[in-house]
């Protein structure tokens, strides 16, 4: 098998009429999805696309998922985008990737043009009406290797420019196989998808659905501020599996929701990307009997790399382990001398490793480097920048970051990217972003004549919502350390109090 499209084609034969990708507007069956991918693939090939990145800027919907697969059908790599990413980030993606083709609709095209897209815009409504050309598609598919790029997703970068992580087909196939085992997915499962489509998080539902003949519902974003309707949605659509960021789960448990309504069909609750408060986890476990699974992994290794199924009661102050690596993945903890250790930087080895960062050999080499334990032959490992430790039970535990990267609302944020965005605004001469992990508050201190309101308004149009600071502080002078570097500790104290 070369790509996940072969899973789709198999499901088209096995379960042609089963609704697989569903949102509030439409439910697409496996055969409709497969047909859409052939139409979109044909249209792209006829337009001249050839083994290159194709940007997709569409609303979060069932059809958009099919469009991503349609790009793969043409032998190209999809670059998923969302207006929610903000103009600055969209612009950065367009200038880094320079895609010749964009799949969009009449509503989203202006945003792409504004962000600097100069190539050919293909309207999805038109692509849908294309007659598939089997010969063209077969020839294109014959040229694909499983080591080719399947997608490029952008994550926060410390020097300001977001990094385009290039995922490959073989890693996707391996991920599908491992997810099936860890989440125990079968055709009877229904996923409730919380993730936006422009991050790798949505691969969990997408790949599992295709591999196992399951189905997925895209949960509307606004429901994540309405716990009762959210649970009602889960029950109504008989959702069996959720893989959500922690705030989405606490929204339900922390607000007395279980007194009014309880999810009745859930069997698997997977969570990740930040610490689940023990009290909230326990509330969930008391009210909803299910498997609870903590997931951990970087975008650079195709999504999730480690998992831990909650098998004991945790009390306040204990940390939930990230457990063990997925099958076919190895975790190495390396100390500062690159020696294997019981505690150290989490490094990952295996087919799951992405190719690196698009058009950025320097940052690629820094993060994807030679395995120091295997000097005899070339083998790459990915250095996560996360600190880990094997506990007495042989489970991996996560201990935060080595650098200035933070995790906020389930999104990875390099504080440097927010600072760089602020520095691009007129009247800002210095900027320092700090994060209060306890209160989960992001703050930005700056110097310059720019008024606070203007700064906030400018940031709102340039960075994703989750990157907006909840507090901005204007300073006369940026506090510096003895070495002349920004004194982050003092900025933190100014923004959040000592």
């Amino acid at each position: 098998m070369k790509t996940i499209l072969e899973d789709l084609d198999l499901q088209e034969l096995l379960r042609p009429d089963k609704a697989a990708f569903c949102d509030e507007r439409e439910q697409l069956t496996f055969s409709q999805i497969a047909e859409l991918t052939r139409r979109i693939g044909t249209a792209l090939l006829k337009a001249g696309a050839e083994r290159e990145p194709v940007a997709v800027l569409l609303p979060r919907s069932a059809k958009t998922l099919a469009a991503l697969l349609g790009v793969m059908r043409a032998g190209c790599a999809y670059v998923p985008l969302d207006a929610e990413m903000g103009a600055l980030r969209l612009g950065s993606v367009f200038s880094q990737v320079r895609p010749r083709f964009l799949i969009c609709n009449t509503d989203t095209e202006p945003a792409a043009r504004e962000a600097g897209f100069t190539g050919t815009a293909l309207q999805i409504e038109k692509l849908e009406r294309q007659t598939p050309d089997e010969t063209l598609l077969r020839t294109a598919y014959a040229h694909i290797l499983d080591t080719d790029p399947a997608y490029i997703v952008f994550t926060s970068g410390s020097t300001g420019a977001p990094k385009g992580v290039i995922g490959k087909h073989s890693a996707m196939l391996d991920y599908a196989a491992q997810l099936k085992k860890v989440l125990r997915v079968s055709a009877a499962d229904v996923f409730g998808m919380q993730a936006p489509l422009y991050v790798d998080a949505c691969l969990k539902e997408l790949l599992s659905t295709l591999r196992c003949g399951a189905s997925l519902w895209i949960v509307p974003k606004l429901l994540f501020s309405a716990p009762v309707p959210l649970v009602r949605f889960l029950n109504e659509h008989k959702i069996t599996t959720v893989c959500w960021v922690v705030p989405a789960l606490t929204l339900i448990s922390a607000l007395h929701t279980f007194e009014e309504i309880v999810p009745t069909t859930l069997k698997t609750v997977a969570f990740g990307s930040e610490v689940f408060p023990i009290r909230q986890l326990n509330l969930w476990m008391q009210h909803v009997p299910a498997r609870y699974i903590n997931l951990y992994g970087p975008t650079e290794c195709t999504g999730m790399s480690c998992w831990y199924e909650v098998d004991r009661v945790f009390t306040q102050g204990e940390s939930i382990p990230i457990g063990q690596p997925f099958d076919n993945t190895e975790i190495l903890l390396l100390d500062e001398n690159d020696r294997l250790s019981n505690e150290g930087e989490i490094c990952i080895r295996g087919v799951a490793l992405c190719h690196g960062y698009w058009n950025d050999p320097e940052r690629t080499q820094k993060a994807f480097c030679q395995n120091p334990l295997r000097p005899e032959y070339p083998e790459r490992i990915y250095r996560t920048g996360d600190r880990g430790k094997w506990n007495a039970r042989g489970e991996l535990e996560f201990f935060g970051r080595i650098d200035n990267q933070i995790k906020h609302m389930g999104h990875r944020i390099e504080l440097g990217e927010l600072e760089a965005a602020a520095l691009k605004i007129d009247g800002v001469s210095a900027a320092c972003a700090v994060f209060d992990a306890e209160r989960k508050r992001l703050a930005l201190a700056y110097t310059g004549e720019c008024a606070k309101n203007d700064l906030t308004a400018a940031l709102r149009s340039s960075v994703p919502d989750f990157m907006l600071p909840s507090r901005t502080v204007q300073l006369d002078r940026m506090p510096l350390t003895e070495n002349g570097k920004t004194d982050r500790r003092r900025v933190h104290a100014i923004c959040f109090g000592a």
Partner: protein, 76 residues
């Protein structure tokens, strides 16, 4: 109302809560903010906000939110 505005601006000092009308839709208040807000409001006003009232509608503006808090007080 004063107390509520204090709680809100403690959470997002840069937002003018007397003017903003679409707090949830515009992405100013997310899941995490709503959890924090409800907890603080329940402490400050000595009320319990039932989960069914936690909707984008309730949190769309400071005025809307205050009306909900007041209606809860009356029930006692």
């Amino acid at each position: 109302m004063e107390t509520l505005l204090e709680i809100l601006s403690e959470l997002h000092p840069d937002v003018d809560f007397t003017k903003e009308e679409r707090l949830v839709e515009r992405g100013i208040l997310g899941s995490f903010d709503i959890v924090m807000l409800v907890t603080r409001i329940e402490e400050a006003f000595d009320v319990v906000i039932p989960a069914r009232l936690i909707t984008p509608e309730t949190f769309r503006s400071a005025d809307a939110l205050y009306a909900v808090i007041e209606s809860l007080g009356e029930d006692d």
